[in-house]
């Protein structure tokens, strides 16, 4: 493991993701107003909330795509700035397509996910094997040589997930993996995720509604206006929580959600 020393008493190992009082802005508009979010080893955490509540921004501060203006982000007990062990993290960005401006095969796209384990970008036999295995996990091994342009929306999402799995990560971060995915692909994705979780992978995923993933979720964190509104077991009627008009305030979450903090820190 890495250089962690001051670990919490309950679990000897640090959480895989720890956000403490994180604030972030998008073009001077505060999007995160001091959120706390922890994902422990082997845990599956769903990040929920209405559009514009800061779900995707929270995910992007973890991977470093959006700079934080305050607070701390840690991955595997290491501050994100010093974190280098990216092969342990698999990321599925919010996308409707896996295609770029130039044709690419399914294998070519998924191979990018193996770069974190490949030295100087040289893919060896074991790497090719891992790419093939990742494609098998999402049921696309027979499409390996096809252009991603020839795939359906759900298959695109499966390619993006195979790309994240290619490095055999211990932590999966997924931004709306079920958006625009047909039912058949949703079931494949849920089965893939179930296998990963059974093998001990930790998961943080942004969702609009739980859907077929509901039985997998250990904990739900609900955001609203850049604050944590709820952190606990997934509420029953989850669709309701995701709505902007939802008024079910959890008093115990108040210490996690101090909008005033933004003003003091930034």
């Amino acid at each position: 493991m890495t250089n962690e020393s001051g670990t919490p008493a309950a679990d000897p190992r640090p959480p895989v993701i720890a956000l403490r009082g994180v604030t972030a802005e998008l073009g001077s508009r505060p999007v995160l107003r001091g959120i706390d979010l922890t994902v422990h080893r082997g845990e599956v955490v769903a990040l929920l909330g209405a559009n514009g509540s800061g779900k995707s921004t929270a995910i992007r501060t973890i991977i470093g795509q959006v700079p934080v203006t305050g607070g701390e982000v840690e991955l595997f007990g290491t501050p994100r700035r010093r974190f280098r062990d990216w092969a342990r993290v698999g990321y599925v960005p919010q996308r409707t397509t896996a295609a770029g401006g130039v044709p690419a095969t399914v294998t070519e796209v998924v191979s990018s996910g193996r770069l974190s384990r490949a030295r100087f970008g040289v893919l060896r036999k074991a790497d090719r094997e891992a790419v093939r295995h990742a494609l098998e996990l999402v049921g696309l091994a027979d499409r390996a040589k096809d252009s991603v342009d020839a795939l359906s929306g759900g298959q695109h999402q499966r390619v993006l997930i195979a790309r994240a799995l290619a490095s055999v990560p211990e932590l999966l971060i997924m931004d709306e993996p079920m958006a625009g995915v047909d039912l058949a692909s949703q079931e494949v994705l849920a089965a893939t995720l179930r296998e990963q979780v059974a093998a001990g992978t930790s998961v943080l995923l942004v969702l609009h509604e739980l859907g077929p993933l509901e039985p997998l979720i250990d904990r739900a964190v609900v955001l609203r206006d850049g604050c944590v509104l709820h952190d606990g077991p997934p509420p029953r009627a989850l669709g309701q929580h995701a709505l902007p008009g939802h008024d079910h305030v959890h008093p115990h979450a108040a210490h996690n959600a101090e909008p005033i903090r933004t003003g003091l820190l930034s």
């Binding site: 280098r84 092969a87 990321y91 401006g101 996910g113 490949a118 970008g121 047909d182």
Partner: protein
């Protein structure tokens, strides 16, 4: 076949330069097209004019001076892309036209300089490619080939999905800068052959033409370089025998190749679409009865 064309030293230099341009321009262009910045090369070409002008003014090699200035310009463009989200295109416009105006200004300030000197850089002029130009072009082309082939997996990942590339631990910003610098170097490699105003065509059109045939990135790369080399050699030879400007000939040949391949690829595309539709129909074999309509598979377009 009569190969007397190779007897002239200037034609040997011209053909060597042409081949190098045919390789490097599409090799960089493919990454620009992939990241949907197809016209970046055009912008750099404008900025490079200032370098040419400065070269004349200071009596330094216009090729090396243009390289230096266009590298600075490319780095500036990349920085504008990072920081200047809101006013980005205004800043780019000023950079482009400032670069062009600077070139015209400097060349007219140079002793004995006039816009006529600039013309050979704007539209290419093979017969004036000097010995030292060829040395510069060879060195610069070697750099471009090294980057675009040696770092192809990294550049592919960054150009395909920048956000994901960050999570593989790749130095995304450094690679973006390297792409911009390599594009700038390519512009100056191509400057003597096709000219600054036509450079971008040779970066983009062969890639677009190759896409008509290919399904993979690797094949697109290979085919676009093959097209690039064919049209630059073809254009150079044509300009020798027919006394037509090489740059324009090369670009028109490239566009011709694009149209030819588009027509040739139509039956191929139709066959592939049919195969894909068959696969899709097979996969959607058992439609779930209670599926939410909005999330159903879009398999309606099974046109045979």
């Amino acid at each position: 076949m009569n190969l007397e064309i190779l007897d002239y030293a200037f034609m040997q230099r011209a053909l060597l330069a042409a081949v190098l341009v045919g390789i490097t321009a599409p090799a960089v262009g493919i990454y620009l097209v992939q990241r949907r910045q197809a016209l970046l090369g055009d912008g750099i070409g404008h900025v490079a004019m200032t370098g040419v002008g400065l070269g004349f003014l200071l009596s330094w090699s216009p090729v090396w001076m243009a390289t230096a200035v266009s590298v600075v310009g490319a780095v500036l463009m990349e920085l504008i892309r990072w920081y200047g989200r809101t006013r980005g295109d205004i800043a780019l416009a000023m950079l482009f036209y400032g670069g062009m105006a600077g070139g015209v200004m400097f060349i007219n300030l140079a002793p004995g300089g006039s816009n006529a000197n600039l013309t050979s850089y704007l539209f290419g002029s093979l017969s004036t490619v000097s010995e030292s130009d060829v040395t510069a072009i060879c060195l610069l082309a070697a750099f471009v080939v090294l980057v675009t082939i040696g770092l192809r997996r990294q550049l592919f990942a960054v150009s395909q999905d920048e956000e994901f590339a960050r999570v593989t631990g790749l130095p995304v910003r450094a690679l973006n800068l390297l792409t911009a610098i390599t594009a700038a170097v390519t512009v100056t490699v191509a400057m003597r052959v096709v000219g600054l105003l036509l450079v971008s065509a040779l970066m983009v059109v062969p890639v677009a033409a190759a896409q008509q045939l290919s399904r993979s990135f690797a094949a697109t790369f290979a085919i676009s370089v093959a097209i690039g080399v064919s049209v630059t050699i073809g254009g150079t030879v044509t300009s020798y025998y027919q006394d037509v400007p090489p740059g324009a000939t090369i670009v028109l040949l490239t566009i011709g190749a694009f149209m030819l391949l588009t027509v040739a690829a139509t039956p191929l595309a139709r066959r592939r679409a049919r195969a894909a539709a068959l696969v899709a129909a097979r996969e959607a074999g058992d439609p779930a009865e209670c599926a939410i309509p909005a999330t159903r598979t879009p398999t309606g377009k099974v046109g045979v």
